[in-house]
Symmetry: C2
Subunit: 243 residues, 2 copies
């Protein structure tokens, strides 16, 4: 893990780093000392580790919850090079969207392709970040919507260090069996008028989660229109389960 | 409005009263001075104004939110006499439940019968309680599940003083048109494994609400098994909209 830069503002220290092929960013309380819970955030498709939705949540998790938060660019996203195979899968997905086809099978192909690489990368990130003395080995949470849910479900299912997850904005296609292996508490966000995820498919993914303790929050609006108060709700969810 | 008793414990003053035919209870912060938001709570079928689920929520709304909270026995419930007509409707509902029939039409009949009396009673309660100088004329919220939702939907639709409502544990049967006239922010609670309300009917009632700002919270478990953390969530919802 190699640190590239460090800046602080409004009580939050932000460190850019690389770990193997992953460019990442770590947010912690300014002057953090000792162990604390860590939240890994997974960004959406076409986005990156410092997308506004990531940064806004990360800063609140740090300032109001005292958490450490880490995000890395998913494979083929952000500052990372795009492979030919990814370009081909992405082109098929875009063509399906333009044609107005049911894109579920192409989305599944994309997420499956990316998850195979992202899951071990994120596991390595946890290991490295938890060796920092101002993060330490505390409980871990995961937060990711849309593609961040498509990669997050296999990650949470595979990684026993994760103790709670905020997921959502995705349907059950291709994920039912993996979701059944998720057993930690989950807060699941669904947009009632999602223009990318059919409502029934989103409800079915919530239903498929194996967790005994899971809670669905549904709000009116399209895919990207999660209301701001849900950030506070996610913060309280993580505080309840990681603190 | 005639006060019968007043007791205080743990920072909460509880006053029993009668207003017309309604026996009621008012909870306020001990030594409350001046105006504050008021929450009217509607209890479930067969329950009463001081059912445990009502008292627990009321005390938290008072101690953590500084709200005034009022509840009255619904017609034919609690300390009130039961009429012959009610006894007949209740017997038909019970017979349907025992026979394992779809009870929706009988539940609609029950709620329609009770709402005709409860809605004007509750409106009178608001008027009287808001004349007390330690409650005053502030924003009003409504909180009611199951039968408290069945009576609450017509109440909230009819009463412009209500500015936010927590509803849930009920299906859309007989309520679609009235629900469409509810336009204030709503937090709607649904039990994913409700043994009394089919999931699709509960989702359809949330869908039917006319409110632009509505949020669905669904949790695993049966009809009466709302997880405790939802009380805090209701409190924050009311604080967000009434404070």
């Amino acid at each position: 893990m190699r640190f590239i830069s460090q800046t602080s503002s409004d009580g939050v220290t932000e460190r850019l780093f690389t770990l193997g092929e992953s460019p990442g960013v770590l947010w912690t309380p300014e002057d953090a000392v000792g162990a604390r819970p860590l939240i890994l955030m997974g960004h959406g498709g076409g986005q990156h580790k410092k997308a506004p939705g990531i940064v806004t949540r990360a800063r609140r998790f740090v300032t109001e919850g005292g958490f450490a938060v880490v995000a890395v660019d998913a494979p083929n996203h952000g500052d990372r090079p795009k492979t030919e195979e990814f370009a081909r899968i992405a082109a098929e997905l875009r063509a399906g969207m333009v044609a107005g086809e049911g894109i579920a099978p192409k989305l599944v192909a994309m997420h499956t392709f990316l998850a195979g690489q992202a899951v071990p990368e994120w596991q390595a990130v946890l290991t490295e970040v938890q060796e920092l003395d101002f993060v330490g080995v505390g409980p871990v949470g995961y937060c990711g919507m849309s593609m961040g849910c498509g990669l997050g479900v296999p990650f949470v299912a595979a990684e026993p260090r994760v103790r709670a997850a905020v997921l959502g904005l995705l349907g059950v296609d291709g994920l039912a069996e993996t979701a059944a292996r998720v057993t930690v508490p989950v807060q699941f966000l669904l947009q009632w008028d999602d223009d990318q995820v059919p409502r029934a498919q989103g409800l079915a993914l919530f239903d498929a989660l194996g967790s005994a303790d899971k809670t669905l929050h549904a709000n009116p609006g399209k895919h990207g229109e999660i209301p701001g108060f849900e950030i506070g709700s996610s913060l309280r969810f993580f505080t309840r389960h990681l603190r």
